[in-house]
């Protein structure tokens, strides 16, 4: 089965991101396809590489990045939601005259069309949030 994943909450405050990560991992392990993971609302904060959680805790962003690398996952952060919350890649930082970017490896910034597209293409869209 082809899954699309929508993550609507940020890391640590809310378990949605952990659940999405675990679901994605389990689906891939069962041989399913995960067409795209889309991060929206505070979910975009999963894509910052500047988080430094305590060493005895999980690093959710790093886990997404390594899962993406291993399975060539498409991790997409909504551009409009990201701009509001200060999540930038190098191009966005330059475009808005910001002095830094913070997007983590394996994530890319794109538009909401990417969410609708995966909702249409996938067999199931799984929404993780409140």
């Amino acid at each position: 089965m082809k899954f699309g994943i929508l993550v609507n909450e940020g890391p640590y405050t809310h378990e949605a991101s952990d659940s999405a990560l675990q679901f994605t991992r389990a689906a891939l392990a069962k041989g399913h396809e995960v067409t795209r993971v889309f991060f929206y609302h505070d979910g975009v904060n999963n894509g910052t590489r500047l988080g430094v959680p305590p060493q005895d805790d999980r690093n959710i962003t790093r886990e997404w990045s390594s899962l993406a690398k291993e399975h060539e996952l498409d991790l997409v952060v909504c551009i409009a939601a990201a701009q509001r919350r200060g999540l930038l890649d190098a191009d966005e930082a330059k475009r808005h005259g910001k002095d830094a970017d913070n997007i983590a490896e394996g994530f890319r910034i794109s538009g909401l069309g990417q969410l609708i597209e995966v909702a249409i293409q996938a067999d199931r869209l799984m929404v993780f949030g409140d």
Binding site: N8, H41, A81, L112, L115, I116, E117, I120, G129
Partner: protein, 135 residues
């Protein structure tokens, strides 16, 4: 993209207090370009999103409620409001914006977008969907 799917956006939260309502509307407006079979449902505190005469001056947040009136122009013509949610909040359809769409096949006649449905009817509608966005 030639596939047409049934997409329902379920709006469950008050318009202010959290950003979900505004960002849900942004998805609906962008998603309209994909020409799918789209409907919106307003349930629980989500019914407050459509209340007429919103004034956000006191909280310093942009009042985005006028944007709902544009949904018809985006070909979003099916808007379901759950009756039980209205009743529980002492609201009626008269308290809500009246959303319509223009039928270009009938000389742009103005047609009703708003449909009052029971909880049971909404459950049936949800059952019919291919994709449910829950905000």
């Amino acid at each position: 993209m030639s596939i047409t799917k049934r997409l329902m956006y379920v709006n469950r939260r008050a318009p202010y207090g959290t950003i979900y309502a505004l960002e849900s509307l942004e998805v609906v407006l962008i998603g309209a370009a994909f020409e799918q079979d789209v409907s919106l449902a307003f349930v629980d505190d989500g019914v407050y999103q459509l209340v007429k005469g919103q004034n956000t001056t006191g909280i310093g947040v942009k009042n985005f409620s006028p944007a709902y009136a544009a949904l018809g122009d985006y070909d979003v013509k099916k808007i379901y409001i759950e009756k039980e949610s209205l009743d529980q909040r002492g609201l009626s359809m008269d308290d809500l914006q009246h959303l319509t769409w223009e039928d270009e096949n009938e000389d742009y006649a103005e047609k009703e977008s708003m449909h009052l449905v029971s909880r049971e009817e909404l459950a049936d509608l949800l059952e019919e969907q291919d994709v449910v966005f829950s905000f």
